[in-house]
């Protein structure tokens, strides 16, 4: 049996969901027998590959760069999982939405800067007007709320997908968990 081609992606989030993923601890070794990790902040692949079975997406869509990545991921992924509250609800990154991106940039790079105040003009992606949850941009197959979802919840999701079933998250995790 060929192994499940898994990718994990980190968009506008804090990487806490990836930390929770790593918190599966010794269960990772067991999972690794059935999984090939083809793309992730945890491995060295530079390009998002074709024909991925499952992609766990952490984080919201806050920049055009995020949006382009997400659209490419969707096109190359069979089962797209919104992992954690930022992906599901836009969560903390969306706290800038009532104020707008200019105010957020000014806060970070002008008002609180003690040396060289001024927003960077290159190498970082431009913020979009609003941070959005994944499903406002592309169709999502599985929603896993939680900030972060527990290691047990992520383990359940992967086990179900490995068994060829769609995980049912009802009652297993909640917003802000």
């Amino acid at each position: 049996m060929s192994r499940l081609r898994l990718a994990t992606v980190w968009l506008d989030g804090c990487s806490g969901c990836h930390m929770s993923f790593l918190d599966m601890d010794e269960r990772l070794i067991e999972l690794a027998r059935g999984i090939e990790l083809v793309y992730s902040p945890l491995v060295d692949a530079k390009e998002f590959p074709e024909q991925v079975d499952v992609t766990l997406v952490e984080g919201a869509v806050g920049t055009r760069d995020d949006e382009e990545k997400l659209r490419a991921i969707r096109a190359r992924t069979r089962v797209l999982v919104a992992l954690g509250d930022c992906a599901v609800t836009a969560n903390v990154p969306a706290m800038r939405n009532p104020f707008g991106p200019q105010a957020a940039m000014a806060r970070a790079y002008q008002e609180n800067a003690t040396r060289n105040p001024g927003a960077p003009t290159r190498e970082i992606p431009v913020l979009q007007a609003r941070v959005r949850p994944l499903h406002e941009v592309v169709p999502v197959d599985v929603f896993v709320p939680g900030c972060p979802p527990s290691a047990d919840t992520i383990h359940y999701v992967l086990q179900e997908l490995l068994a060829g079933r769609m995980p049912d998250l009802a009652g297993r995790s909640r917003f802000g968990a």
């Binding site: 509250d85 609800t89 969560n91 969306a94 949850p133």
Partner: protein, 236 residues
Amino acid sequence: MNAGIKTLRIDGRDVGARGDQTILQVARENGIFIPSLCYLEGLSPVGACRLCLVEVKGAARLLPSCVTRVEEGMEVTTRSERLDRYRRMILELLFSERNHICSVCVSNGHCELQGLAEKLQLTHVHFPYRYPRLPVDASHPRFVADHNRCILCTRCVRVCDEIEGAHTWDVMGRGIEARIITDLNQPWGESESCTSCGKCVHVCPTGALSEKGRSVAEMAKRRQFLPYLTMMRTQR
């Protein structure tokens, strides 16, 4: 009140009730769960949140069980696919209307909105979020009002008026612009009618009203006092 005894069926179960009781009260007495947010035992019911809608045989529309009195021979259904769908939709609308960010909320883990979302198996919100820009009033020396978390249930308005007798809280504006206010829309700390009793904080179902100094997930509410206070006011 001599309202007589009524018998009715809730979810196929025969139950007895006093004629002055509502469907919701009778259901709860019999351990039948009906979700609600604006209803709180000890306060007058207002039928605002619509989560407690039920199906009543012979009625063309859904009825809010918190303000519908029992009738002889009534047949009530509290759970169905249609009710589940509507209830989830109501919760999704509440989440999308303001900035409920559970992970950084003082009431995370103690919130009735969050709890119902979990109980009614909500995994995401289908509506686009509105992200309104709303104030946080921290002018009171002991309490905070965060309008981002308010669902306009008016429990604070009712407890302040009916139990404390101060009527500091009220609602201004209409529809999506509605907002709870203290006195004549003054900062809470400058309110002349507020007695700083804190009842509003403890009946608030979400993190909209909280005690100062509470961090994320630290604001557990205590509202066991309410039925006793009501009893004291009405049955002395």
